[in-house]
């Protein structure tokens, strides 16, 4: 070992940049899967109003289950793998996505929906051509929270055999008394979160040229700011 800034112990069997890639994969796949699962659930909640409160309760309760508890149960089925880390992360993302999509879709003005119906757009076209595009800013706001939170939560995967991406450095840092490794982990995770968030902001600007300038924040839904969510996760 030559002692370079990004050198990491050989027991991790990876390079720093390899860990960064692993971290991103473990953080982002659950977010994407969570979004895909949340879309139909949210649509059901929009169509059947009575379903929304129980769905919210369920997602909130799932969110309250610590990831460690998930690991204990899942490890029997999926082993000490990335999948075991990603399943709870995907489940957690629902607590952000379902309300974000429901609020976004409900924010489409009734006149707009009536006009779409009156022009002969069927329910499927109405959903994909009117409701979803207009809900995009709210969905992307949810995506930002879910992404940043997921990036911070991946580290806990370290506990089931170095499945925590950059989080794996935390354990080695403690074992080998190398604060540099801790810094590499913490700063690396933070930089990833900030970059991912910035990319999503850019995405929103690109897909919503139709929003009034100076008011690009989706709408005053009380979504926690990503930073706040990250702090909450750090406490967990």
């Amino acid at each position: 070992m030559s002692g370079g800034l990004f050198d990491i112990p050989s027991d991790l069997q990876n390079t720093y940049w390899g860990l960064v890639g692993l971290h991103l994969r473990e953080a982002l796949i659950p977010v994407v899967v969570g979004l895909v699962v949340a879309l139909p659930i949210a649509q059901l909640c929009v169509r059947l109003r009575w379903l929304y409160p129980p769905v919210l309760w369920v997602t909130t309760i799932l969110y309250a289950i610590p990831s460690l508890a998930f690991f204990v149960v899942l490890i029997d089925y999926t082993g000490q793998t990335e999948t075991t880390v990603m399943i709870p992360l995907g489940v957690y993302s629902l607590v952000v996505f379902v309300p974000a999509i429901v609020d976004g879709v409900r924010s489409v003005p009734q006149e707009t929906l009536d006009a779409a119906t009156a022009m002969g757009l069927g329910p499927v076209r109405r959903y994909f051509q009117v409701q979803l595009p207009i809900a995009a800013p709210a969905i992307i706001a949810g995506l930002r929270v879910a992404t940043v939170s997921s990036i911070s939560l991946v580290s806990v995967g370290m506990l089931i055999g170095n499945q925590g991406g950059l989080g794996n450095l935390l354990n080695d840092g403690m074992i080998y008394h190398q604060p540099r490794l801790i810094w590499l982990s913490v700063v690396g995770t933070a930089v990833l979160a900030i970059l991912a968030d910035a990319l999503l902001v850019l995405l929103r600007v690109l897909v919503t040229p139709w929003m009034p300038r100076g008011n690009r924040r989706s709408r005053p839904v009380d979504e926690p700011e990503p930073m706040q969510a990250a702090l909450e996760d750090a406490v967990r």
């Binding site: 006149e111 707009t112 009536d114 006009a115 002969g120 069927g122 009117v130 919503t208």
Partner: protein, 389 residues
């Protein structure tokens, strides 16, 4: 495509909780005309409109288009053959103006280029600047958005146009402009327009036929506006028309029949003899006109000095009415507002055509009413030519 005749036959809409929104309604909406449904909120006017494009299904009865039951074709095909304009326009906020207008043509399978070309053509037709084509709805004023709404409804050239309180959310000045524009477009296109409003003035202004509805979904009266104003069917309709229906009815009589006087008119450069001669006609005031023939103001004959008439010291002449084009209502209004009690009539180019007293207008009103009563009796159908103003 020209309009079609819509027949509403014994239609009732009853909701599961027992509320009756429309009660056994039967009427025939004539083709190529504007039929207005008007009434207080809860009278079932919007429900009726929405039953025509099946956004609401009637509990009983049938609606036919040119004799064909509207349930005989796929619902989205039916809707694409009917333009729909709604309060606040209901534009797609995430699409540009041109793409909003192109919505139905695109649904009908037109190519993007053809649909957009059509959309631009319609922007011109409804009086929108082509530069707005690539803008988004939030960048337009309420009045402009409503014009886009009308253009979007007309895009696929549907025979029927359904309009649900389309101009209620814009300010009165813009609303008047939109109403005039609608009448102009209708003059060019000849659609079957069904128009819902709660504003009786709007109904009287734009309607060829007006259906007054009352709470509970009952049809109170179905008649051309002039007949509605002259002979309301019952106390409800009379009350709904308001206290000044007599005055409003004058909108339907042309000022063309008024005998104008030209003797109390002098040019600003008149000679002393001319002033003396005109002033001798037993008129209290003379109207001074400029070299261009436009009115400058009123003055007592004695206060005028030949060669030294100061336009700034004349009495204001008020807003003149256009002889032959404006209605008796406009003429009366001019006379009432004039400081001298005389109205100034101008021709289309703004030059003074003559003046007319309140007394003369009063005689014309009495004559018109006498004539109107016979008219209302023998022409019950649509097609009253309306007089501007």
């Amino acid at each position: 495509m020209f309009g079609v005749l819509i027949r509403i036959d014994s239609v009732t809409k009853r909701y599961p909780d027992g509320t009756v929104a429309v009660d056994n309604l039967s009427l025939e909406i004539p083709d190529r005309s504007i039929t207005v449904f008007v009434g207080p909120s809860g009278c079932g006017k919007t429900t009726t409109l929405r039953m025509i494009n099946r956004m609401i299904e009637p509990s009983e009865g049938t609606i036919t288009l040119d004799g064909k039951d509207i349930t005989q074709q796929p619902v989205n095909t039916l809707r694409r053959s009917m333009g729909y304009v709604i309060q606040n326009a209901g534009l797609f906020q995430h699409r540009t103006i041109v793409d909003n207008i192109a919505t139905v043509p695109r649904l009908l399978g037109w190519s993007k280029d053809r649909a957009r070309a059509r959309a631009r053509e319609l922007m011109e037709r409804v009086g929108l600047d082509g530069a707005l084509a690539k803008r988004y709805p939030y960048q337009l004023s309420g009045g402009q958005q409503q014009r886009v709404g009308v253009a979007r409804a007309l895009a696929a050239d549907p025979p029927v146009l359904l309009m649900d309180e389309p101009f209620s959310a814009v300010d009165p000045v813009v609303r008047k402009g939109l109403q005039d524009e609608l009448l102009r477009i209708q003059g060019e296109l000849g659609k079957t327009i069904v128009f819902v409003t709660h504003d009786i003035d709007e109904a009287v202004k734009i309607g060829t036929m007006v259906a007054v509805m009352r709470t509970g979904g009952h049809l109170a009266q179905f008649a051309p506006p002039a007949e509605l104003l002259s002979s309301p069917a019952d106390a409800f309709v009379e009350d709904f028309l308001g206290a000044d229906r007599g005055i409003r009815r004058l909108s339907f009589f042309s000022s063309a029949g008024l005998d104008l006087l030209t003797s109390p008119v002098v040019a600003v450069d008149a000679t002393a003899e001319q002033i003396a001669e005109r002033g001798a006609n037993d008129v209290p005031y003379l109207l001074v006109i400029g070299a261009d023939g436009r009115p400058l103001g009123w003055s007592e004959p004695g206060a005028l000095t030949a060669g030294d008439i100061d336009p700034s010291r004349l009495l204001a002449h008020g807003r003149p009415f256009e002889h032959g084009k404006d209605s008796l209502r406009a003429a009366l209004d001019c006379a009432v507002l004039s400081p001298t009690g005389w109205a100034v009539a101008v021709s289309a180019d703004g030059r003074v055509a003559g003046v007319v007293s309140q007394q003369t207008i009063g005689e014309a009103i009495r004559a018109a009413h006498a004539e109107g009563r016979t008219d209302a009796r023998d022409s019950g159908d649509a097609g009253d030519a309306k007089v501007a103003g």
